[in-house]
């Protein structure tokens, strides 16, 4: 960013910022949008200059990755991530305020669940990066990781060959801070080499990726030069066909229709390209009897679950939507709506831009005996008497609670919704954590988390939608993975 009124950089002149300029070393064209009362200028990809951009960034990344060793790159990236770990710093407060102002998400969510992904990455023992995934490839049994367990599902193929991609492109979507930026790690060298990366901004109001890259320019300037980032309108064939024709790997995030469309074109334009598809997902929670029945344990579960539901107003792929309760699911639902309401009042208010969604949903369900709504519409809890996989009609703090006879019965329901599975929040006794990993992992889930941690997955030892993308672009395997982020309940109930 290069504006004197830049709110991210401390020591800039006082006064309200009027224009923020995000820059890219390769993308010269720009697009200006007004959001949150600010004028935001973003790099804009255009078809005419794209071939030169691709050529430039690929050439530069070959030079950079020949010059820097993976540990040097890791050092620089750790410093970069470290910058985002202290929310008390004025410059980080400014980042949080800026995202809040533009995207409307609560500061609490941005701090805890957006920037919250960085501290565990910074603290992570670098010697362990990639080790557990490698082990999991070699066995069908669960592998103990630093924070939980990881398990492979499916059989390895002897026909998969290693390759080193020259260009990785990201078709991103969504404004969820944090993950929207660290996708860039997929392309960084593992043992040697590394592809250049083209990153499509999801929208011109998604500022976090550009903030992250501008900080990368300070902490890891050479790594920054291996990436070109900017906006183009999704579906713009003139731009996308050039990107896809040159990409050895394509990371696609978006609706199923978008994923399928880009994938089809990617395969047509470059048949051997590796596609990393990440469609939209629906989160799940399973609360076992011991946690539902004990008032103390239930309170701890609720305390965590309200965070899993409310983070980014329920609009993220990990957001919990279907809650299966072993025991009195109605009583659980009643406690949950109270907790959600309190949480919105106290910590994480609903994004003002989508408050009307909650108000309208509340209107719709005012006459329904099976939907509990908080008085101001900040959250809604549907109560169903039979277990099913409910597909939400709105991305909001809006969930369905239903009976879950056993983990096996819940897994049977989940299997029917395999394409939509990702994160399952599990409150189960210690002895059931591994069986649940196997059951839900087999059903199609990839991240089994303890209550309160749905938004916080560790990219160093957990798969994203069943895959380790940084491995898959180099070794396009066919298996899937699932991981837990806890080994025993004491890990989160301290």
């Amino acid at each position: 960013m290069s504006d004197p009124t830049d709110p991210v950089n401390p020591g800039t002149p006082a006064g309200p910022p009027t224009q923020i300029v995000f820059e890219d070393p390769y993308v010269q064209a720009t697009k200006t949008e007004t959001a949150g009362g600010l004028e935001l200028r973003f790099p804009l990809f255009d078809a005419a200059s794209l071939p030169d951009i691709i050529q430039g960034v690929c050439a530069r990344s070959r030079e950079v990755f020949a010059r820097l060793s993976p540990p040097e790159i890791q050092d620089a990236m750790s410093r970069l991530d470290g910058f985002f770990t202290d929310p008390t710093r004025p410059d980080i407060r400014a980042v949080i305020d800026l995202i809040h102002r533009i995207d409307g998400f609560s500061r609490y969510d941005i701090e805890r669940f957006g920037l919250g992904i960085f501290p565990p990455l910074v603290r992570y023992d670098r010697a362990l990066i990639g080790r557990f995934a490698k082990q999991a490839f070699g066995t069908r049994r669960p592998v103990e990781t630093a924070f939980g367990c990881l398990q492979r599902f499916g059989a390895n193929s002897p026909f998969v060959r290693r390759r080193e991609p020259g260009l990785l492109s990201h078709f991103t979507s969504g404004n969820v801070a944090g993950y929207s930026a660290i996708l860039t790690r997929i392309g960084l060298p593992v043992e040697s080499g590394g592809p250049a990366q083209i990153i499509k901004l999801p929208s011109t109001s998604a500022v976090f990726p550009m903030i992250y890259l501008s900080k990368m320019n300070e902490f890891a300037p050479l790594v920054r030069e291996t990436m070109a980032c900017g906006y183009w309108k999704g579906g713009d064939r003139a731009v996308e066909d050039i990107v896809l024709a040159n990409s050895d790997a394509v990371n696609i995030l978006g609706s199923e229709a978008t994923v399928q469309d880009v994938k089809k074109r990617a395969k047509r334009l470059r048949p051997r390209t590796v596609v990393l598809p990440h469609g939209h997902k629906v989160g799940v929670a399973y609360i076992s009897r011991s946690f539902a029945a004990s008032p103390e344990l239930r309170d701890r579960v609720l305390e965590g679950l309200v965070r899993d539901i409310s983070a980014f107003d329920g609009a993220a792929c990990y957001s919990t939507k279907n809650i299966y309760v072993q025991g009195d699911h109605v009583a659980f639902a009643e406690s949950l709506i109270e907790s959600l309401d309190r949480f919105a009042e106290t910590f994480s208010p609903v994004n003002p831009a989508i408050k009307a969604v909650g108000r309208n949903l509340r209107r719709v369900f005012l006459g329904s005996a099976n939907v509990l709504a908080s008085p101001n519409g900040s959250a809604l809890v549907r109560v169903s008497s039979r277990p099913e996989f409910w597909v939400p009609d709105e991305a909001y703090r809006y969930v369905q609670v239903m009976p879950g006879e056993s983990a096996e019965a819940v897994a049977a329901v989940l299997r029917t919704a395999r394409p939509f599975l990702q994160t399952v929040v599990a409150a189960v006794p210690d002895g059931e954590i591994l069986p649940v990993l196997q059951l839900f992992g087999k059903a199609g889930a990839s991240n089994i988390h303890h209550p309160g941690s749905a938004p916080l997955f560790n990219v160093y030892e957990e798969p994203h939608d069943g895959d380790f993308d940084f491995i898959k672009i180099r070794y396009p395997y066919r298996v899937r993975f699932a991981a837990t982020n806890f080994k025993r309940n004491a890990d989160w109930m301290r």
């Binding site: 939209h280 792929c317 009307a356 309208n360 329904s368 005996a369 549907r382 939509f420």
Partner: protein, 410 residues
């Protein structure tokens, strides 16, 4: 694509065309009483506002219909899971189904009499006085009937609301042409290899020939239907191609100005430019737009159909409310009726029988409109500038959570 209608069955509706205020009040009273008795949902909705049946009857006696609790139109959407709460499936009827622009259709259970009323009303709203020849820019009856069959739910038959519009249109015109139909030969070939049906669109030259023939014979002609199916033809014709003057009538229904209608996706329509283009292509003078070019505002969740003629002053359609329903434009947050400005549309439309098969006597629609004139009791006389209420749904670009509407694209 042409159907002659020799047997006109224009039976008068039970209680629509010229409904007196006392009769309207009686119908609202019986509809609300019946709704209260049949739908626990409505009872709880009223209870949440501290209203008992006696309060509702007092509201109706006062003619303060805007105070009647209304069911949000999106409650009828399939994804909300309230179909059985909002419909009384115990009697005869079929589900009316919306065109599902959002990928999430509305289902409203409707009795045969009410269905007939709605269809009859369409014959009036889609009809043009003294005109016997119509071109419907719409899918054919057989396509809509096939789609209706597929939409059956809970063991009950369904009918697309669009089908009622087309049937109403057929009932009015002696001769009706539709522009989209099944290509029978190609469909038969496709079926043999397990492929879906093939659709045939009427060529622009065929449309032009129908219009030119009417023009030569001095016959008035009406065309209309879906804006998004009409526009490609409009783009193909040149300015001054026809000279219909006062013999040309245009009626649109079902919206679509945003560029989306059902599964059709196209560019957004700039209404003033669109109307001007119609005028110049078909030779309909600007002075005739306020009598010969109209739009029908309606939605599946209500039986009300509101006609609006083009207003050059407003640069949009001016919709005029008729006596068979009451319409209010209300504050989006408080639902208090407004006397000026923009707000959500609330419609009170009682059943002709006074025995509703769905809890839709009073409906709040998530569309915004601007008041043009209003009565002293807050009842709107005319309104304009209708648009979708932006806050009704979460924007699709916020995150990566899956929404039911995506199923349409899967």
């Amino acid at each position: 694509m042409n159907a002659s209608n020799s047997a006109k069955t224009l039976s008068p509706p039970d209680a629509t065309s010229a409904l007196s205020a006392p009769l309207f009040q009686d119908l609202v009273r019986s509809s609300i009483e019946y709704q209260w008795g049949r739908f626990a949902y409505y009872k709880q909705l009223c209870a949440s506002q501290g209203l008992a049946l006696a309060d509702l009857l007092a509201i109706i006696a006062d003619g303060a219909y805007h105070r009647l609790p209304s069911v949000a139109s999106s409650a009828f959407k399939l994804s909300k899971g309230l179909v059985e709460d909002l419909s009384d499936l115990s009697g005869p009827g079929v589900f009316q189904v919306s065109s599902s622009t959002s990928g999430d259709p509305s289902y409203v259970y409707t009795s045969p009499e009410e269905l007939e009323n709605i269809t009859h009303r369409y014959s009036e709203t889609f009809g043009a006085f003294g005109v016997s020849l119509g071109i419907a820019f719409a899918p054919s009856l057989r396509i809509l009937r096939a789609l209706s069959r597929k939409a059956a739910l809970k063991g009950k038959k369904a009918v697309l609301r669009m089908l009622l519009g087309l049937e109403g249109s057929y009932a009015h015109y002696e001769q009706t042409y539709v522009t989209v139909d099944v290509d029978v030969f190609r469909t038969a070939l496709n079926r043999a290899v397990g492929r879906p049906s093939a659709i045939r669109k009427m060529p622009a030259s065929a449309v032009a020939s129908i219009i030119r023939s009417a023009e030569e014979r001095g016959l008035p002609i009406s065309f209309g239907g879906l804006t998004l199916l009409f526009r490609p033809y409009l783009d193909e014709f040149r300015e001054g191609e026809f000279h219909l003057h006062d013999k040309g009538h245009v009626t649109f229904g079902g919206g679509g100005y945003s560029g989306a209608k059902g599964s059709i996706r196209a560019e957004k329509i700039d209404k003033p430019a669109f109307i001007a283009r119609i005028g110049s292509v078909f030779g309909i003078d600007a002075s005739l737009w306020s009598t010969n070019i109209k739009d029908i505002y309606s939605f599946t969740e209500t039986s009300a159909q509101i006609e609006g003629f083009w207003s050059r002053d407003l640069n949009d359609f001016l919709f005029r409310v008729t006596p068979e329903y009451r319409l209010y434009i209300v504050d989006p947050e408080t639902e208090a009726p407004l006397r000026a400005g923009r707000g959500l549309i609330k419609v009170i439309a009682p059943y002709g029988s006074g025995r509703p098969t769905a809890a839709n006597t009073s409906v709040l629609q998530f569309d915004m409109a601007e008041i043009v004139s209003v009565q002293s009791d807050g009842c709107v006389e005319s309104f304009t500038h209708v648009s979708r209420f932006e806050g009704a749904e979460a924007p699709g670009t916020v995150g990566c959570a899956f929404k039911a509407a995506e199923i349409a694209g899967v």
